[in-house]
């Protein structure tokens, strides 16, 4: 299992050289960006990049011909994503401190939360889609987002007051704990769904 996770670093060793310069670019030229945005970018970078390599049918044939089970292959993806996200965020925090970029622990918590939620949605979708369709799916997803954002905002406008009131009345601790709980459930559900999809996949 550790070998499968380590593989993510071997396959993208050239892209890894880009990682720190990219983060530095955001820190130096992105002073208008929220710190959490940079955290999301950093956390997303390695796992999604690694995934783009695994999308190919040949890679799946290789992995499934080696002595690994499909359960292990999916588990390594989900555990690896958390691991690399944590390391990347750690590196980003060090860079933030070195370059005196202001950030709060809330930024980090929100950044990590958003990243994990994105993984939870992206992975099963990627396993479900045939190779080559992921690009199309992202475009369609983006268009849907643009179309749906208008009614969503109207909806929020109507119900915003009660929502804000709810959040205001809840204590920060409860807020954090409940979002962490929702996130864990989301990630676990995503893991299970990916596993079910991958188990049935033919290569």
């Amino acid at each position: 299992m550790i070998n499968l996770i380590r593989r993510d670093l071997i396959i993208q060793k050239f892209q890894l050289y880009l990682f720190i310069p990219c983060i530095l670019f955001f820190i130096i030229f992105g002073s208008h960006l929220s710190a959490f945005f940079i955290i999301v970018f950093a956390g997303f970078f390695i796992p999604i990049n690694a995934y783009s390599y695994d999308e190919k049918a040949e890679t799946n044939i290789l992995l499934n011909s080696l002595p690994y089970t499909r359960t292990q292959i999916i588990a390594s993806r989900y555990i690896g994503a958390i691991f690399y996200m944590a390391v990347s965020i750690g590196i980003t925090i060090v860079l933030f401190s070195l370059f005196n970029r202001a950030f709060t622990w809330t930024d980090i918590a929100i950044g990590a939360g958003i990243t994990l939620a994105m993984f939870a949605f992206a992975f099963p979708l990627f396993y479900l889609l045939k190779p080559g369709y992921i690009g199309t799916a992202i475009v369609i997803g983006f268009i849907l987002l643009v179309i749906l954002s208008q009614p969503a905002i109207t909806f929020l406008g109507e119900y915003l007051t009660p929502i804000v009131q709810f959040f205001a009345s809840a204590s920060t601790t409860i807020l954090y704990l409940s979002s962490a709980g929702i996130l864990i459930v989301l990630y676990a559900a995503s893991w299970l769904i990916s596993q079910m999809i991958y188990q049935r996949k033919a290569f």
Partner: protein, 289 residues
């Protein structure tokens, strides 16, 4: 004699193609060649063997074990060479070794570097710069470095030049020498099989036509030539396919002994090559037309 691989009534259906009721045994310690036309079901059969596909019905056993619950143990003892490159294209062999080696308990670096030397493979060049032959050698080096007992190769000789093809056959013969390994490989190039195969499995349109020793195949199958007036309902039953021309007929039989008894000196009986068998079997639906 032990069977390394056993398929019992395996069926796998796709939208436009299906493998039907496949029964197949691969004998331990021998080279089994797997022949059949394009689209006959060779790759599908091999994917079932590697558990890349799961059978709809029937039983697939490797080393006497089911894949359910034994997947790692089976694959630990299996080596694979696919007809297309499955390694990360942008990586070099050194990095690919770093990914593959830790997957196997039995991996031996010494053996690996030894084969890299014998096969004259560069360690620091990206796989995408490799020729087809080099990619095949790289796969084979990987399969041999973890001491696989059963090596499955999907068209390893396709796209190789004749010199390297012979070299490869020599290498394969060499790795078979100690009798511990079993080799199963598919090919269109039937002359390769005539050189090294002990057993032949012939697949056609998703069905196994025969699964027999090379010797038996050569004894049973024959090309028969004679004059047209010898053909009647009884004699034609002996033939898988008959071709007629103004000079006479030419037919393939899978019962050479019976032909000799019935028709004796009135026909010429010639040894059928695997290619003859493939060619005639392909048109067999026009049998007795």
């Amino acid at each position: 004699m032990k069977n390394i691989v056993e398929f019992k009534n395996v069926t796998k259906c796709f939208k436009d193609f299906s493998l039907e009721n496949i029964n197949l045994q691969i004998k331990q310690g021998y080279v089994t060649g797997f022949v059949g036309a394009n689209g006959a079901g060779k790759s599908t059969t091999m994917k079932l063997m590697m558990n890349l596909l799961q059978a709809d019905t029937g039983e697939v056993k490797i080393f006497g074990m089911d894949y359910a619950g034994n997947e790692k143990e089976i694959k630990e003892r299996m080596g694979f060479v696919y007809d297309s490159n499955v390694f990360y294209e942008s990586l070099n062999l050194k990095d690919i070794r770093r990914i593959i080696a830790p997957a196997y308990k039995n991996w031996d670096d010494k053996t690996f570097y030894n084969y890299i030397k014998i096969f004259e493979l560069p360690l620091n060049k990206a796989i995408k710069t490799f020729s087809k032959g080099m990619q095949m050698k790289a796969s084979l080096a990987m399969a041999l470095s973890h001491d696989a007992e059963f090596i499955m190769m999907d068209e390893p000789t396709a796209g190789l030049d004749p010199v390297f093809r012979r070299e490869l056959l020599d290498i394969l013969q060499e790795i078979m020498e100690d009798g511990r390994r079993t080799l199963f490989f598919s090919t269109h190039i039937t002359s390769d099989l005539e050189r090294i195969a002990d057993y032949i499995t012939f697949i056609q349109k998703g069905k196994i036509l025969f699964n027999d020793s090379m010797q038996n195949v050569q004894d049973r199958y024959a090309l028969v030539k004679g004059s047209i007036d010898l053909l009647n309902q009884d004699t034609e039953k002996l033939f898988i396919k008959t071709e007629r021309s103004s000079y006479g007929f030419q037919a393939l039989t899978n019962d050479a002994a019976e032909v000799k008894i019935l028709l004796g000196d009135r026909v010429v009986v010639e040894e059928a090559t695997l290619e003859d068998i493939m060619f005639y079997a392909k048109g067999a639906k026009h049998q007795n037309v």
